[in-house]
Point group: D3
Chain length 253, copies 6
């Protein structure tokens, strides 16, 4: 069930069955010469569709722009400052909390979001802890789940790509987007085959360390077929994880 394609009475009905929802969150940033700039948003958005089919969960609109300051050296990359992203997550959660939602499952497609989104959760909890939240706000539970953090995805990646998986513009994420948007696959030469690795600081530094944008990966190995395998495995495992979070017998204490 997609929030964008639902009506408010339908959401009201949904809330009688569940107070959890899924919020895809990604980024808009370069993914090397053959990866989509939207990769990190498109992956959780695609998987969310599968998870919704599997679990019936409500899917909020994808938060497509994340914290990507380090990619600003490459055309097309967009960042929110961490403090902006924190405010966005706060507002989204507080809006939905007003309707009775109390479990927020952020399906994340971008490592660079983890710190800011986790900090946002603390900012939201701090409203309760410091007593500045809406006095009617129920206790809230937020969870950030990286789509690739399920065993089957790791296993497929290891089997198919081994040391060429990398950590940015990875074979897996590029495969997943090729599976979702096969007509947009790019075939361009990559050199060197496997990109360098290293730490991340600011945008100028990133561009010099990783001249074509990739980190440690050879996404020339990406394929629709691998994407399909990843999709099916991830949907299955993430659906279970979502339900574990959403249906947990325990209420927020």
């Amino acid at each position: 069930m997609f929030l964008q394609l639902s009506t408010w009475p339908e959401v009201e009905a949904y809330l009688k069955t569940s107070t959890a929802c899924l919020i895809p969150i990604g980024s808009t940033e370069q993914h090397g010469p053959n990866g989509f700039i939207g990769t990190d948003a498109l992956c959780p958005q695609l998987l969310a569709k599968g998870i919704a089919e599997e679990t019936g969960c409500l899917v909020a609109p994808t938060l497509s722009i994340g914290m990507a300051q380090h990619h600003l050296g490459f055309a097309g990359s967009i960042t929110l400052r961490p403090t902006t992203l924190i405010a966005v997550v706060q507002d989204v959660v507080n809006s939905l909390a007003r309707h009775g939602f109390d479990r927020f499952y952020f399906l994340n497609g971008h490592g660079g979001n983890i710190a800011s989104v986790t900090a946002a959760f603390s900012e939201i909890y701090a409203e309760s802890s410091l007593g500045t939240a809406d006095s009617n706000r129920q206790p809230l539970m937020c969870k950030l789940k990286n789509w690739w953090d399920v065993p089957s995805v790791g296993a497929i990646s290891k089997r198919r790509f081994g040391g060429a998986e990398g950590s940015h513009a990875t074979c897996s994420e590029v495969s997943l987007t090729y599976y979702g948007w096969p007509e947009h696959q790019k075939r361009v030469p990559l050199s060197p085959e496997i990109a360098p690795t290293g730490p991340i600081y600011d945008a100028a530094d990133y561009r010099r360390r990783f001249p074509d944008g990739r980190i440690g990966s050879n996404p020339a190995l990406a394929s629709v077929e691998a994407g399909e395998e990843l999709y099916k495995a991830a949907v299955k495992e993430l659906s279970a994880d979502y339900l574990g979070f959403a249906r947990s017998g325990e209420q927020p204490l």
Copy 2:
């Protein structure tokens, strides 16, 4: 050309032909008993596709969540506070400006965004005017265009819906989304046929004034057919408007 489905070298190439881009911006808020909660984001997103086909413009990811505090009395509505939305627009524009973009055409689907987005433009310009912008930032031009603010849309609406068009959950916007997502059309009874009108204050007040969420409209009249007519007319006129903004001989002074 969609930013999310492009690579950074493709954006770099695009920038040699144009420094303008189109950013759909909408809202996630109730649209009455038969309108999608995503209406205000889906309309500019749909039209952006047509405008991109027509003009070749680069389309950024849709900013799907806008300023909708007055709709929070209805399940599923999400708002950003005005100051959050200002920060988001600032960050998006400043990120893209770094790559050489200097003309930002925000295609807007939500009246409630106008003040905050316009204020955001001033906040961005003020960075230049007060000297706190990146010293390498070129002069920027931002434009907010409501998709319904073209003569042909007004004419079609008047001819087809007359006094039943309304100002929220309008026949036109519901038609446009039905055209875009026909399988999700909702057929539910509306009572009264034409919703009341009045001013907008906070969410509790809104809910009491407009009990089913609509303002002045009878979107039972919405249809795929009307949506198609609106789509074609709007794409044509907005494409011309976009090009007038993007190709204008004059540089930002």
Copy 3:
């Protein structure tokens, strides 16, 4: 009744008769070679006096500094950033709300304030909608009224100035201030007679487009006599508009 010249027991007494007040808001920015830098604040301040005499309304101190980033290319102009102006309006309204005021009529003298002040209203309403307002705060109603947005002012302007009225440093506003402060009238040559028109971006761009600060106007036509006619007509219409807002039978819902 002027807040600045009243005592707190007098305000307490006033609140037994009305919970509305009028807040003049303007700007401090160049108005061309012969217009006062204070024009946009002085106009609503002057009119507020007339409206107070007519209606007995309480008039708060004029907010003399507004959002004028685009005028910073001309000496003496002062701006608040939009986010600063939002905070100011928030604090003023929340302070007065504590005493029982619930209807805030902002009489505005500056087009550049509209977006930020309207966004401020939404920020204030959002405190209710998101539940972060003072839990004792009653529902609030805010209205922004541009002093020139009454039919009689338009009619006088059209009759007297026609195409020379313009949109910044207009004949009407300069006339109104000359009527209020006749001893400060400036007589300086203007060239060209009618200033150019165009869009507004940042301060450097504005200065280049509109070299002497005016937009589309020939305020050499301004006169004390025209100012007096405008004053009387505007006070009459705005008084009625104020009372319609303040005395409306309906309570904030």
Copy 4:
């Protein structure tokens, strides 16, 4: 010379003679049963006129609303939060700095402003010290001067009012406003004659400690005559103080 009644070319001419200006800053807050709510803004505004006549200095519009949270227990009082006031002072100074002003003399009428305005100065200087100011911004010098902090005012107060001067709604400030606005003098009984004294915390505490708003004063002693004496003495001394600041041979280092 009043900024509000000047044109931008006049300000440009002024800047060739001086880069200093005077900014009256006050508050809008209860001043007991017979003092004006505007006392703290009206005093510096009135004195600024005299100082301008004496020195030819440029006077910016009065910042009429200050930090007055502790007065919110009395009808009509308005506060800016300290952080809002800091932002306002920052924006005003940075706007004027753009035109070449580098010496800002804030003539203050409210003790409650001192901390926030002084903090604002540090926030402004910190922009230079941390390198985030406009790279074209010259070194700035800001001074906060309480109008009552000149020896002659102290002497007159002591001679005329002695122990009845008090520290809020003082005999001196009420006298000064009675001199400026004699037709608005209030004659109401005060009980006890001399108000209690004590520390200041929040608004509810203030109201309980100081039930009619005064602290330590008996402003029934206020008079137009005393106001005139204070006015003349203060204008003379403050003019000299202003010139010492503005004309100082030394440039900001």
Copy 5:
């Protein structure tokens, strides 16, 4: 009793005897050629130990970094912007208020903190006055006490150092730190003997006015012996002052 070395049950027990606590606050900034960069934090930290022994008060961790923008021209100096410091003080007080503390005695070691910390107190009180504080928050009382603002310290300084005391890197504060950390005493030549005096603006200006960082002092006169005398006198007087604040019969009104 030091908060850092206590357990939460011990604090819970303490709260049954007192709802006051002491918070040392200082700065990390140059103190001339022979003064410690930590002087302003170390002084109140040292004295807090003595006051705790004397009074049994609970001592929070020292806030070692304050508002020191003007010292940034000297290596090692660190500043918080005033608005950052305000947020820190707000969070500390609101955290402790949640546990039942309602009297906060900030023992201050740095003149540059006074404005920002006092503004922070107003920001905190404004939460009550504007109704945005935790609705369970009791009335709060905050006090800022400069350690040197007790008569005995002034007397010792005058007797020992006379006109060489100065106002930054003073003989007294350097003595006090030498007493606390005698093994770190520095013996370096100072020239001129007594440093110049003058106003404070930004960091570059400060460095030019006060080339070695001192203002008006000759801290070569500092000694462990003087520090000990100052320590004993200050602890005694400050202990009494603390108890007067903490034990005051009156509750926050």
Copy 6:
């Protein structure tokens, strides 16, 4: 070398040998019935002393208050909101960067800080990436190192405490503080022996899940002897890690 006990000329000299520094960062929060509230700040502070002896690094004052909203249900706990902590880290780094420091090694004692401090690093880098940093600011490198994240600490913990180590109020951290402050050791009964485990949300939830504050640990096993072993191992490994970061041949790119 401790910044607080150094003079500015000494820091200037240090900068000729190294542009790196170490910043201990912790928290002030309950650590169960027998752990110090200051545990998370005292551990990195203690280790920093050892690392400084080993490496000669400059140690900044400990940032003793961190992000601990979830502990506010226990007396004495203090939190900064994530956005406050971000501002603090930003100001500290930007201050030190002005003097030439470009490598910032944050030695962290609190898991709850990781997200906010990492987000702060991105906020700082974003100033470079978006062009709003001081134009003279060199490229910066920040690293967050949890003191327990070195192999030897894990090995000692496993050998000594096994499954009783836990994740809050751990045997290791309590041991380390007992080693540092042996006279403050607490011997109190703990029940159950090993505390429960679970997820972390807001303060009320935390208190209900973990009634005495511990998570998964039995710190009755903590000892001075274990603390000493941990201290020596950690100092050694962290010194090497610090030097690897500080002396790295490569410059920030």
